[in-house]
C-alpha cells in the first residue's frame, strides 16, 4: 500500500494524498480548511481492506499526518505558538485539557440540538417577512378654495409673446461676396483677404470665406497661405497659370 497514492474525498480537497501535501507546501491550499480527521479515516478504511497490517505504510502515514497536524496547529494559533512552547508540561496539559473539554461541551450541545431538531420535526409554522407597519398619514394644511382658484386663474392666462429677434443670426448672402470678389479680381490680379475684408463682422467674414471657397471650386482663383494664421493671398487663376509657366521655363 502506498500512502502517497491514498485517494481523498474531503470538503476542501479531492485527489491523492501527495497532491494535497504538495498544494499545502506550496500554500495553494489553506490547511485550516482541511479536515485532518477525515484523512485519518480514509487511511484506516484503506488499511482495513488488507488482511495484514502494513507497518511501513502506517509508519509513513504517521510521520506525514503528524507533520500536517503540527503545521495546521501552528496555522490556527500563530500568536500562541511561542507562548505555548514556553509552558511547563503540566500547564500545557492543563490548557489542552481545558480546550478539549470546551470542544467536548460544544459537541454535546450539537448532539442535543440534533436530537431537538428531530423531536421538533413535527412543528410547522408560518414563515415570512414581518408585515409592514401602517404608515402614519401626513395631514394637509387647511385649504382655501378661493386662493386655489386664484392660482389656477393665474396659470390659465396666456403668457406674453417673447421676442426672439435678438437671438437670430443674420447671414449676408454668399452671392454678395462672390460679386464683390469678382469685381476686385477684374481690377487686380491679386489681393489679400484680410485687407479686403477688414472691418467686417465675424459672421460677414465667415460668409466671405465661403464665397472664396466657392470661387476656388469653380477654378476662378488660387489661394495661398504661407503659414497658419498668415495673411491669405488670393490670385486670379489665369495669372497663377502664367506664373507657374514662367517658373517652369526659367
Amino acid at each position: 500500500m502506498i500512502v502517497r497514492e491514498l485517494e481523498l474525498d474531503l470538503d476542501a480537497f479531492e485527489g491523492p494524498f501527495d497532491l494535497l501535501l504538495t498544494l499545502v507546501l506550496k500554500e495553494e491550499l489553506e490547511l485550516r480548511e482541511v479536515d485532518v480527521a477525515a484523512i485519518v479515516l480514509a487511511f484506516l478504511e484503506r488499511l482495513a481492506e488488507h488482511d495484514q497490517l502494513d507497518l511501513d505504510a502506517c509508519g509513513e502515514f504517521l510521520v506525514l499526518i503528524s507533520a500536517l497536524l503540527e503545521l495546521k496547529a501552528r496555522g490556527l494559533f500563530p500568536e500562541e505558538a511561542a507562548e505555548l512552547l514556553e509552558l511547563e508540561p503540566e500547564v500545557a496539559a492543563e490548557e489542552l485539557a481545558r480546550r478539549l473539554a470546551a470542544y467536548r461541551r460544544m459537541k454535546e450541545a450539537a448532539a442535543w440540538l440534533r436530537e431537538r431538531l428531530e423531536s421538533e420535526g413535527e412543528r410547522f409554522f408560518r414563515l415570512g417577512p414581518a408585515p409592514l407597519a401602517p404608515k402614519a398619514e401626513t395631514p394637509l394644511a387647511p385649504q382655501e378654495p378661493d386662493r386655489l382658484a386664484q392660482v389656477i386663474r393665474l396659470l390659465a392666462a396666456e403668457p406674453a409673446q417673447v421676442s426672439l429677434a435678438h437671438m437670430a443670426l443674420r447671414f449676408p448672402p454668399v452671392g454678395q461676396f462672390l460679386e464683390r470678389f469678382r469685381s476686385v479680381l477684374r481690377r487686380r490680379a491679386r489681393f489679400d483677404f484680410d485687407q479686403e475684408l477688414g472691418g467686417l463682422s465675424r459672421i460677414e467674414q465667415a460668409v466671405a470665406f465661403l464665397a472664396l471657397l466657392e470661387l476656388r471650386r469653380n477654378g476662378e482663383i488660387a489661394i495661398e497661405q504661407a503659414a497658419p494664421f498668415a495673411p491669405i493671398r488670393i490670385t486670379r487663376s489665369d495669372v497663377e497659370r502664367e506664373d507657374s509657366w514662367t517658373l517652369r521655363s526659367a
Binding site: E33, P89, Y103
Partner: protein
Amino acid sequence: MDAPLRLISSNPLDQLARTIEALLVVASAPLGVEELADAADDDAERVEAALGLVGERYREGRSGIVLEHVAGGWAFRAAREAAQACARLYEKPAQRNLSQASLETLAIVAYLGPSSRPDIARIRGVSADSAVANLVERGLIAEAGREEAGAIRYRTTPLFERIFGLESLSALPRLDDVGETADAIRDRLHAVAEKRSA
C-alpha cells in the same frame, strides 16, 4: 345565529382574545405581550390573561392550530397531528441536512455568542468559514456587530429559537454535566506529561 363564536361564554376578555387571535394569524413572527398590547390598544396584564384563553382554545388535541410561547413571543403553529400533511405541502429548508460542522458551529454561537469566526475555529480546530456562511444563508445566525479587531460576530436568530422550539436562549440545557469527561482527559494528559519529563 349571527352571534360571534365564543371562546368561553360570557368571559369579559372574549373580545380581546378574539383580537389577539386575529393579530397572531396576521403575524409571520412571534409577537411579544407588549406588541400585542400596543396593537390591541389594551393593557399588558389583560393581554396575558386573554392569551390564557386563546391557549386553552388552541392546544394539541383540540385544534389544528396550536398557540405556543416561542422565541420570546407568542405564535400559532400547526398541530403535531397535522405534521405529515404539512410536510407534504411545505418543505423546511432552514433545518434540512444540517451537517455536524454546522450543528457544532450553531451550538457555539448559541451558547457562547456573539462569537466571531476565529472564536469558532479556536474551539472546533477547523476553519468555520463555510459553516458560518451556510448558517447565515439558512437564517439561523446573523451578524451582531464586530470585535475590536474587526472580525464580525454572530448571534442566533429568532428563527433558530423557533425551529428548535425554544422560548429563548436561556431555555437551552446547561452543559456543565460533562465534568467527569474533562477530568478524565486531564488525568490522561498528566500521565503523558509525567512520562515525558521522567
